[in-house]
């Protein structure tokens, strides 16, 4: 059983560290270059949000299995200001910062499972998973 990889994210360089860790885990799991890049990109998006909106947080990477298939699970947790309207935040082009507004909906498109739990002033937890197809 693989131990979890935990990355503390507080500044720019940690975004790179987190996505590299994601790529490495995806690679160890046997994911193709394409899947590895999708995982890394999704991590980059949520890690950046963490730095920009919450200041700091933690990203936990783990291997999960479900019904014979294996996958990578990423949990990005912070104690920041939270997302007031998750539905709005999940809409392309919506941004409360100075960005494209593609971070959250983009990450969701890249991953298979995607869950956002957020309470205004109560932090945000994003859980996302990418599965390895059974036949690979």
């Amino acid at each position: 059983m693989d131990a979890d990889t935990r990355v503390r994210v507080a500044e720019d360089v940690d975004v790179v560290v987190a996505r590299q860790a994601g790529r490495e885990l995806a690679q160890r799991l046997g994911m193709s270059a394409s899947l590895q890049t999708m995982v890394a990109t999704a991590i980059s998006e949520v890690a950046r949000n963490m730095v920009v909106y919450a200041g700091c947080g933690e990203i936990v990477l783990s291997v999960v299995s479900d019904d014979g298939r294996r996958g990578i699970e990423i949990t990005a947790r912070d104690d920041g200001p939270g997302i007031a309207d998750v539905d709005l935040a999940m809409r392309d082009g919506y941004s409360t910062g100075n960005s494209l507004g593609l971070g959250l909906p983009g990450a969701r498109r890249l991953m298979d499972d995607f869950l956002v739990e957020s309470v205004p002033q109560g932090g945000t937890t994003i859980t996302m998973r990418k599965w390895l197809a059974e036949w690979t």
């Binding site: 270059a33 394409s34 890394a40 990109t41 983009g106």
Partner: protein
């Protein structure tokens, strides 16, 4: 770590390393904007062939470089987007409208050359 920018005549060439952080990219954006003006650049080539991801932030930087350069008379070409990076960009939903693209440096140079030839006819 600042991304080095090479000058070749009226051409600027920058190669982005995989370790580049958001801050490095922002600085590159500013450096290119300044240098386009300073040397009267006609073309900007940004080589991303060793980048293993292009996320929404990086894409936005490239787009901004393209728009700013265009306003100052230069064409920007992004070269070397890797296949899995391109796929992830499509899934992410980002587009590159203000810049041209080419497979590699040679392709980028050819594109800029063609453009200049066409303009002078």
């Amino acid at each position: 770590m600042p991304v080095p920018i090479l000058h070749q005549g009226r051409l600027l060439i920058a190669s982005v390393p995989p370790t580049a952080t958001d801050r490095d990219l922002r600085e590159l954006q500013d450096d290119l904007a300044e240098q386009v003006g300073r040397i009267g650049a006609r073309g900007v080539i940004i080589d991303v062939s060793v980048l293993d991801i292009l996320d929404s932030f990086a894409t936005r930087v490239l787009e901004t470089v393209g728009q700013v350069s265009h306003l100052r008379g230069a064409t920007t070409v992004i070269v070397g987007i890797q296949p899995d990076v391109a796929l992830a960009m499509v899934q992410l939903g980002v587009t590159l409208d203000a810049v041209a693209t080419a497979l590699d440096l040679e392709g980028g140079l050819a594109l800029l050359h063609e453009q200049r030839s066409a303009a002078s006819r």
